[in-house]
């Protein structure tokens, strides 16, 4: 009988005890092996059959296996006990082993009771598995590896990086979980709010979902945001702040929160704010938490309690006299909110509400009327608005201009310093300006002043004259000259040569003009008292013109606070209308063909767009002028579009000056160059009153079809006109046109709507003739005074082709093309 325990067959049979049919002994086996397969098989079969009879019914499995074994045996596999079964991952192990091996696999179940027989590696693996299970329990008692070692460790948990591997994290997390639990249970008092939440969470889900939840929370923890990235929690104000704040600001915020919390571990809340998910936690927020968040931004607090007053409240406010300080504070807070509206707004309140309250407050605090405040709010961004209003409350520094006809700046400065005046040069942009800081003598009454060594003048008034820069020997007009500061500046620039005409409509103020001019030693001046709109009738042909138009004075509120309340929409529009008229007259007074000039400067001491850019734009459309750079290298550019206005792009060459940014009176300067003396008519079919009225100037018009073809051929000598006439006749289109015989200084008596194309001096023709001009102009032209004739002739002679205006480019036809057309028509004929 086989006694070897590791032989499956033997073992099985062996186990069943002696009652079982005893198997042949070992010798028998050997014999069987030696005898050959046939004998063995047969022998096994017999034995097994015997076994089967003896085996009890409970061993059904065994029986099955035996059957299988029998079958195997029948199939002819060798059942060799000495045969080593291949184990391991190799190919041979995968082969189907002999019956004994297969059997052993099945019969194995019974032998589980004892400890498995493991290989060395298997033993190691098992050991490790055991270790892992034991670890968390061990470590729980230890101090956490991560965390602060100082007293803050209880509440202060460092945030973790999100990107680290989950596995080690989860280990840590689970650490923390255990740790938290323990600590929280200890410190329940200290963690009333969010700690409680966490506890709840934990206690609820401890069994199953612990790890998952912790991971969620800790994912939040892992966000490295120092507490600024809020989870919403109803603190909408802070949401965008978190994105905007620098780390140091966030830290400061945190500290603030710390300070403001009373006995609450606000930082814990802070931390847990970060850690918490947005969903569902907001309900748990206690009121104290809300308050904490609010006190950080007191203005938000105010607003929340302030509640943008309803109608009743505003009535109440009207009844009470509001403390100016509160109003001022409210203004500041309001602007703060408006600047950061999405972050700081109150729920349900529209921007309009905030704006209207701000308007009201500004009116109250700075004593403006609503209209003006509205206009200012349109002009300036909110941050600048307050600066502007503040600047209007204080005076600009006193400035003087040295009269270089009588003295030099340094001599004057010396003399004044000797008298006890504290002064400085105005800036590098001016060689004659001095700014007075303080003085022991009245600046307007020193002997130097009386001797005409200097003039008291605002810094902004230097600018238009600098822009105009009149040259020596020129004929200059100052249309609105009182009190004469700009006029005298121009005179000193011209060194008392040439002629300056100082005009003003107000006779009273003209006295000061005369006085100043005499005092300053200006000898080349003529002072007159005309309405500027009539001036072109009186005299024209100036080389340069300065128009400092009367305006609403919104730029000099510091000098005249009455403007704050007295100006209204009709005032502005009235001013604008007057300015437009004056500007057109000024333009008509300029001689475009002047050899040295042809410039006009328009300026106002106002900041309103209606009085500045709009007027300039109007003039650009109405006259043959263009804007040129002012030569002032500082100042803000003029608007090219503003609210409903859309201006010519060259408006950006104009300059605006503000009290709060340049420390001078609000000012606007625009410099024009006139390139043609022709006054363009209004657009087709329209009667333009202003053109007619102002046409009585020296300008001699050509009955041009295209307005402002600058060098009109009709000003040429008659001889030339004839030649051109012929040209026009050859042109088929022009055939029906009557002769354009231009008499010098007068309009041709062209009747009829269709005017001949007026051939230009260079032989170009204009297509698509429209001849409204002559028809309209004839009545006007007949009224052209003879005095103008002289000027007209002057113009005629002097007119040279300077270049087409950009607007008229489209109607040009090139020389070659004209020739071709001419040929064509000739051929046709």
């Amino acid at each position: 009988m086989c006694k070897r325990s590791d032989h499956h067959c033997c073992r099985a049979l062996w186990n069943h005890g002696p009652s079982i049919y005893s198997l042949p002994s070992g010798e028998g086996h050997a014999d069987a092996g030696a005898a050959g397969g046939q004998v063995v098989r047969h022998w096994i079969f017999n034995h097994l059959q015997q076994l089967l009879r003896t085996v009890s019914g409970s061993d059904a499995q065994f029986v099955q296996q035996l059957n299988f074994g029998l079958r195997v045996g029948v199939m002819g596999r060798k059942l060799d006990p000495t045969n080593k079964v291949k184990r391991g991952p190799g190919k041979k192990a995968r082969k189907q082993q002999g019956a004994d091996v297969e059997l052993a696999n099945f019969i194995d179940t019974e032998e589980d009771a004892g400890p498995k027989r493991l290989s060395s590696r298997a033993r190691k693996r098992a050991a490790k598995r055991v270790e892992n299970l034991k670890k968390p329990e061990n470590v729980a008692e230890k101090q956490p590896k991560k965390g602060y070692s100082d007293d803050n460790s209880k509440w202060l948990k460092p945030t973790k990086r999100k990107r680290k591997m989950d596995e080690p994290e989860s280990e840590d997390d689970s650490e923390e979980m255990w740790e938290d639990e323990e600590e929280e249970e200890e410190e329940q008092v200290l963690l009333p709010k969010k700690g409680g939440k966490k506890q709840e969470k934990k206690s609820a889900d401890l069994e199953l979902k612990n790890l998952e939840e912790e991971e969620e929370d800790d994912d939040d923890e892992m966000v490295d945001d120092y507490g600024a990235e809020d989870d919403g929690s109803g603190q909408e104000e802070e949401d965008s702040d978190g994105d905007d704040l620098l780390p140091i600001e966030r830290a400061a915020k945190k500290e603030k929160k710390l300070k403001e919390s009373m006995g609450l571990s606000s930082d814990d809340d802070n931390e847990e704010d970060e850690e918490e998910d947005d969903d569902g936690d907001e309900k748990h927020e206690s009121d104290s938490d809300m308050d904490e968040e609010e006190t950080i931004q007191t203005n938000v607090d105010d607003f929340d309690t302030f509640r943008l007053p309803s109608a009743e409240e505003s009535e109440k406010e009207g009844a009470l006299s509001l403390d100016l300080k509160t109003v001022h504070q409210r203004i500041k807070d309001n602007i703060d909110v408006l600047c950061n509206f999405s972050a700081k707004r109150e729920e349900g309140k529209a921007r309009v509400d905030y704006l209207s309250l701000l308007k009201k407050d500004l009116c109250t605090y700075y004593s403006y009327n609503e209209f003006l405040i509205e206009k200012l709010m349109d002009l300036f961004p909110l941050s600048e608005l307050v600066d502007f209003l503040e600047a209007n409350e204080i005076q600009r520094p006193v400035t003087i201009r040295t009269n270089t006809l009588k003295t030099r700046r340094r001599d004057l400065a010396q003399a004044l310093i000797n008298r006890g005046v504290n002064l400085d040069p105005l800036g590098k942009w001016s060689k004659v300006g001095l700014v007075i800081y303080d003085s022991s003598v009245p600046i307007g009454a020193t002997p130097e002043y009386l001797a005409g060594h200097y003039m008291l003048q605002g810094a902004s008034s230097f600018l238009p004259v600098m822009a105009l820069s009149p040259q020596e020997g020129e004929l200059v007009l100052d249309m609105s000259s009182a009190p004469g500061g700009k006029t005298s500046y121009m005179a000193q620039l011209m060194r008392n040569t040439g002629v300056i005409v100082a005009n003003d409509a107000n006779a009273e103020r003209l006295k000061s003009v005369v006085g100043n001019l005499h005092r300053l030693g200006v000898t080349n001046s003529v002072v007159s008292n005309y309405d500027g709109r009539q001036f072109p009738k009186v005299m024209g042909g100036f080389d340069r013109v300065l128009l400092d138009a009367p305006c609403s004075g919104t730029g000099v509120i510091a000098k005249d606070p009455a403007v704050k309340t007295s100006k209204d929409e009709p005032d502005i529009l009235r001013s604008a209308h007057l300015q437009k008229e004056l500007l057109l007259s000024a333009i008509d007074s300029v001689n475009a063909t002047s050899s040295t000039g042809g410039y006009l400067v328009y300026c106002t001491c106002s900041i309103m767009v209606e009085e500045n850019e709009w007027v300039v734009d109007y003039a650009l459309k109405k006259r043959n002028i263009k804007l040129v750079p002012t030569g002032l290298d500082f100042g803000k550019e003029g608007f090219t579009s503003f609210k409903k206005f859309r201006f010519h792009p060259s408006l950006q060459l104009t300059r605006r000056f503000y009290p709060h940014s340049h420390n001078m009176d609000g000012f606007f300067v625009a410099k024009f160059k006139k390139f043609s003396n022709v006054i363009p008519s209004a657009s087709v079919g329209k009667e333009d009153e202003t053109t007619e009225a102002s046409e009585a100037a020296e300008v001699t018009d050509s009955p041009k079809d295209k307005p402002s073809k600058s060098k009109a051929a009709n000003h040429t000598a008659p001889a030339k006109t004839d030649a051109l006439k012929q040209n026009t006749k050859t042109n088929g289109a022009a055939a029906k046109k009557p002769a354009n015989i231009k008499i010098k200084g007068q309009q041709g008596s062209q009747t009829g709507p269709k005017k001949a194309k007026i051939a230009k001096m260079d032989g170009e023709t204009v297509k698509g003739a429209q001849a409204k001009n002559p028809a309209k102009k004839t009545p006007v032209q007949t009224t052209v005074s003879k005095t103008v004739k002289k000027d007209g002739s002057r113009f005629e002679k002097k007119q040279t082709k300077k270049g087409k205006s950009p607007l008229k480019m489209k109607n040009r036809m090139g020389k070659n093309k004209f020739k071709k057309m001419k040929h064509k028509f000739q051929k046709n004929k």
């Binding site: 005369v514 006085g515 080349n524």
Partner: protein, 179 residues
């Protein structure tokens, strides 16, 4: 605007020569011819270029041309204005310098006292037209010498030495009357 009549011209030049000599130089200047014109009883001094342009303006609208020298009173006496100072000062024959303390007083329209007298040109006759200067050689106005130089030395400090006629303070004090 019209040219001065003979009489008017004579009167005016007499007054002027009281102050300074070589008035002819005023008219014939190197940079052009200058002339005097009368407009609304005031005498204006201007160059001929300006004269031409000034004709464009109507009489009632024209306020001032060039420099106003003075005006003729109703009784056809000529009163010199301070505005002429710049032109006359270079031609002044006799000058008076005033001490800094008395400067302000003169500028207020007061006469110059002996105590305020700084310097005086030699050989100043009594009732001679003078130009008053400050110590810094800034012309302050016109005057008439009340005492001759010799007498000024002898006289007591509180007596007047220069009668005030015109001073630059008038620019502020009587701005209205300038036109």
């Amino acid at each position: 605007m019209r040219p001065l009549t003979e009489e008017e011209t004579k009167t005016m030049f007499e007054k002027l020569s009281n102050i300074g000599e070589n008035i002819k130089l005023l008219v014939d200047r190197p940079d052009g011819t200058y002339c005097f014109r009368l407009h609304q009883d005031r005498v204006y001094y201007m160059s001929e270029k300006i004269l031409k342009l000034a004709t464009n303006f109507s009489r009632d609208k024209l306020i001032s041309v060039g420099t106003c020298f003075g005006k003729f009173t109703k009784t056809k006496k000529f009163r010199l204005h301070i505005t002429a100072l710049d032109f006359l000062a270079p031609y002044a024959k006799f000058k008076v310098w005033v001490k800094p303390g008395a400067e302000q007083s003169f500028l207020y329209g007061n006469h110059v006292l002996k105590s305020g007298l700084g310097r005086i040109t030699e050989n100043t006759m009594q009732y001679q037209g003078v130009v008053v200067y400050s110590m810094a050689d800034v012309p302050l106005g016109f005057g008439v010498a009340a005492k001759s130089t010799q007498e000024c030395r002898r006289v007591d400090p509180m007596s007047i030495v220069v009668f005030h006629q015109a001073d630059v303070g008038e620019f502020i004090r009587s701005e209205d009357t300038l036109t």
